[in-house]
């Protein structure tokens, strides 16, 4: 027994503020991001982009580029023929036909970037421009130019979900709102630009250093672009400068780096400039959403229908798959008894979309949350009361069979409304709407629902975890869970310290090498704290059981009387220390029948595969968030200033409070940019604003004060009760601002962003209509 140690009472770390373990190195510039990496013998790869949206390649001559001193390889479409990859096998690393502005036509590996750029300039390409397709409506026309020979009618993915009798529900509705919403193209703007480094060994095995956020399926997706076996790919994930969904697929620069490495026998690094990043990295999916929602005179929802047309762009990445989530919102955002959902993606010659934080739900909630507000207005109810009337409670099941086991929507609504004094302000601001004065105040409420326990869109939504302890009681967690800045490192550290009673700084995480760490689906779908949190906790509990069993044998005290606290084995009842943990571990290790603490766990959440009919409990948890935005509108310039945001979110249980706040604040900032200023100006397939000067992110002065409320619904399946949280903040804020704008000015914006030009024009038009004696009904509500 240790003489010096004092009794240790149990102090939980759950819900405390834990620092990110990698923060000191990042704050001092010591962290070596992939962008900073240099390998011996490394060549620099650069890509020649088409710079035109739709064309046939008549001739390509690389002779002069090949001859330039310092150039080691030049590749064209001929070097990648047949190596199709992507969700619909419609993409290839280097193209033989141009289908969008950033199509990769040729690539060079050279000793320096300067030489590589000079070589690109020496490549001669003769194009024959073809008529292009720049909207999904145009692409769907019978006489539209065909973008891919094997996709007739330019038809890409199609989705449908129906529930109940639509005609009957429409007949039973007193009010129906009917609008077309056009969520626009935006892009991730990761501060670290896209980068990959590839190197082949002489056994034909590829090592790729990449920013990917899904290392295991990444192997499966990259392999066909190279014609190799996925098992021959080792994925290493150095620290990255952001991802936000943009690295959830393979994009051509990655197989290009690998093809150049194969050709030269040397490591090749491809890294984008900011302009290339804007043009050639994925976008958020743009959509045309024709939505109708009905309710009775007393404010009960009767149905919701959505007919969605998606601008697929030139190739199919995650973007056109968003209807999988869109339909969950259409069918599950409040109690909707009858649902009709259709979505069709049409190939165009525009940039193509990937996944982006809020995946599909940003676009859908933009529509559903505004129509909720319109219906409340038309039945003359306080939107809060309207929302409460239709809000689901714990135990309800949506038409798609999402089982809302622990549902805190009502609590979120009440917390946000009460903290912001919503109902009083809404009435007051609406009364002042048409009073004199340039500046108008408004308040708007919006909410949404999102998967919060993973999303079983693959065959597995699981994670593997290996936990080992050394002779000094230092813990290493080898996990599939990727770190892209979101803070799973702090969560894992916290959980291990909680379970094994070791200091936070004694936990090391290895999660960046696919040859070492076991399977995980990736950082997406707000899943990592939920899934990796459970995996880590289970592994730590197995290690704890092994340690306490050994302690029982050595100390003669039954395991159920023991606990691990403060780096010691203690009596559970009063914390009396019995032996230092590291000493016990050494005794376990160096005895006649030695044992090491090294445990494995595979955790698969209790959720059902999405399935072709989309009727399944596809997530192990669901969560709601409510945002209330308070704004000031300059009616002369159309500028919206967000004065304050009150956000209430069902987080299940707070794990790392500091990380949680950071995710909500950061998610909100991305949502604010989407709402107010970010907009890819694409003219006939060509991006016109490929720089931060013309593509406006939210900056520090524009960030409003936030009042965050975390509702703890204690999710039975979640780690310590936690749910996944990171996407809802991005999803809900834009329609909250739109509803505030309506409250302030009486105008509705259907096509984001709510830029000053758009808002000023809408205000001007409303005034013109009002002056002409027309009744302005921005909600376009129909009394049936």
């Amino acid at each position: 027994m240790e003489k010096t140690a004092n009794p240790t009472t149990k102090q939980t770390l759950i819900g405390t503020r834990v620092k990110k373990p990698d923060a000191p190195d990042k704050a001092t510039g010591k962290t070596r991001y992939i962008n900073d990496m240099v390998l011996p013998q490394m060549l620099i790869g650069k890509v020649l982009f088409a710079g035109r949206p739709h064309a046939r390649i008549v001739r390509i001559d690389t002779t002069a580029a090949q001859a330039l001193p310092g150039v080691h390889a030049v590749l064209t479409g001929q070097d990648a023929t047949g190596l199709k990859f992507g969700f619909s096998r419609d993409n290839v690393a280097l193209k033989d036909k141009v289908r969008c502005e950033h199509d990769e036509i040729a690539a060079v590996a050279a000793e320096t970037e300067e030489i590589a750029l000079r070589a690109l300039a020496l490549i001669e390409v003769e194009y024959e421009d073809l008529p292009g397709v720049f909207t999904p409506e145009a692409g769907a026309r019978e006489d539209a130019p065909l973008i891919h020979d094997n996709f007739p009618g330019n038809k890409s993915l199609h989705f449908e979900f129906e529930h109940g009798d639509l005609a009957e529900a429409e007949a039973a509705s007193d009010i129906i709102v009917d609008n077309v919403f056009r969520p626009h193209h935006v892009t991730h703007c990761c501060m670290g630009t896209s980068c990959a480094i590839a190197d082949f060994d002489h056994n034909g095995k590829l090592t790729i250093w990449t920013q990917t956020q899904y290392p295991y399926n990444y192997k499966m997706d990259l392999a066909p672009a190279l014609g190799i076996n996925p098992g021959d790919i080792r994925v290493i994930q150095p620290p990255v400068g952001g991802a936000f969904g943009s690295k959830l697929d393979v994009y051509p620069y990655e197989p290009i780096a690998a093809l150049l490495a194969k050709k030269t026998g040397r490591p090749v690094k491809v890294i984008y400039s900011r302009e290339e990043e804007f043009k050639a990295s994925p976008t958020r999916q743009a959509a045309i959403i024709h939505m109708r929602t009905g309710c009775t005179r007393d404010g009960v929802l009767t149905f919701r229908s959505a007919d969605v047309l998606l601008d697929n762009g030139a190739y199919t990445s995650w973007g056109p798959t968003i209807p999988v989530i869109m339909m969950r919102t259409v069918s599950g955002h409040y109690r909707v008894p009858v649902v009709d959902f259709k979505a069709q993606a049409i190939y165009t010659n525009n940039p193509y979309a990937g996944s982006f934080r809020g995946y599909g739900n940003v676009q859908t909630t933009w529509a559903t949350a505004q129509q909720m507000d319109m219906l409340a207005d038309l039945v003359d109810m306080d939107p809060l009361a309207f929302h409460l009337k239709n809000a689901q409670r714990s135990g309800e099941v949506t038409p798609q069979k999402s089982f809302l086991r622990e549902c805190a929507l009502v609590e979120c609504l009440e917390a946000a409304a009460s903290a912001s004094d919503y109902s009083r302000k809404r009435t007051e601001y609406a009364a002042l709407r048409d009073a004199p004065g340039r500046y108008k105040k408004g308040i708007g409420l919006a909410s949404s629902v999102h998967n919060a326990g993973g999303a079983k869109i693959h065959k597995s939504d699981g994670i593997g975890t290996i936990l080992k302890m050394d002779d000094y009681a230092r813990v290493t967690v080898i996990t599939g869970a990727s770190e892209i800045g979101q803070g799973i490192d702090a969560v894992i550290t916290l959980i291990v310290a909680e379970e094994l009673g070791v200091p936070l700084e004694h936990v090391t995480i290895v999660n960046n090498d696919s040859d070492v760490a076991p399977w995980d689906v990736g950082v997406h779908a707000s899943r990592t704290t939920f899934i990796a949190g459970n995996g880590t906790r289970r592994a730590a509990q197995k290690a704890k059981a092994q340690i306490l069993n050994a302690a029982e044998r050595m100390l003669g005290e039954p395991t159920e009387t023991l606990d691990l606290r403060g780096g010691q084995v203690v009596f559970e009842r009063d914390g009396t220390p019995l032996i230092q943990l590291e000493r016990l571990l050494r005794q376990m290790h160096f005895k006649a029948e030695p044992e090491l603490v090294m445990v494995t766990d595979y955790y698969e959440p209790k959720s059902e595969p999405e399935g072709a009919r989309h009727i399944s409990d596809h997530s192990a948890a669901y969560s709601h968030a409510v945002h209330i935005a308070e704004i000031t509108v300059d009616t002369l310039t159309g500028e919206i200033t967000v004065d304050k945001v009150t956000a209430a979110q069902d987080v299940g249980r707070v794990i790392n409070r500091m990380g949680l706040e950071g995710q909500v604040e950061g998610g909100l900032a991305i949502g604010l940019g989407y709402a107010l200023s970010e907009n890819m100006q694409i003219d006939k397939g060509m991006l016109k604003n490929a720089c931060f000067r013309d593509y406006k992110l939210i900056t520090a002065p524009e960030m409003p004060p936030l009042d965050l409320h975390f509702i703890e619904s204690n999710c039975a399946e979640g780690p310590y009760g936690a749910k996944g949280i990171s996407e809802l903040p991005t999803i809900v804020i834009a329609p909250a601002i739109a509803n505030a704008l309506y409250n302030a000015t009486g105008v509705r914006i259907f096509n984001p962003p709510m830029s000053p030009e758009t808002v000023a024009r809408a205000i001007h038009e409303r005034r013109a209509q009002t002056n002409a004696g027309k009744v302005a009904t921005p909600a376009e509500g129909l009394a049936v």
Binding site: P24, Q486, T699
Partner: protein
């Protein structure tokens, strides 16, 4: 085709440096590619994001816009130069403690700018910090925790000149 190289001498994080650089080379490229100082980041290359912020003679600049030859005879401080023998600079420590670091890519520039603002105005208010950090883009944090960190350091007079 090699461009003309010029020999320059300057002080980098308190130590004398001399090297030859092409006339067209930017300070950012010199720091990263010639001197191995990769703490300073490239994120836009045109002075719009602040990720490459360094300090020259006590003033912050976007190193992506400044020619390397213009460092000649001057005092240059990068993020690597803020560290003290005792460990992290108080501003760096505040960023860590307040959860201001997520992916962290913009943080070297953000911290250089924040430290400079505090050195020039030890009583910096939150609103002044918001305005002073307008040129530093961050995609992860929503700036809230960055401002919390700056507010925590303000008033403590910990940001005298960074140069040792």
């Amino acid at each position: 085709m090699m461009s003309v190289e010029t020999e320059i001498r300057f002080t980098l994080n308190g130590r004398p440096v001399s090297l030859k650089v092409p006339a067209t080379m930017k300070t950012l490229a010199m720091l990263r590619d010639r001197l191995g100082m990769t703490g300073t980041k490239y994120a836009c290359g045109e002075g719009e994001c602040g990720a490459c912020t360094i300090e020259i003679d006590g003033k912050t600049v976007n190193s992506c816009l400044m020619y390397a030859v213009d460092c000649d005879g001057r005092e240059v401080v990068t993020i690597e130069g803020l560290r003290t023998p005792e460990g992290l600079h108080p501003v760096q420590q505040a960023f860590v403690d307040h959860g201001a670091v997520q992916c962290g890519f913009c943080m070297p520039g953000m911290i250089m700018q924040a430290r400079n603002l505090l050195a020039n105005n030890p009583e910096l208010t939150r609103e002044q910090a918001q305005r002073g950090l307008e040129g530093n883009l961050c995609r992860c944090t929503g700036y809230t925790k960055v401002l919390d960190a700056v507010e925590a350091v303000a008033g403590k007079n910990t940001c005298g000149r960074a140069t040792p």
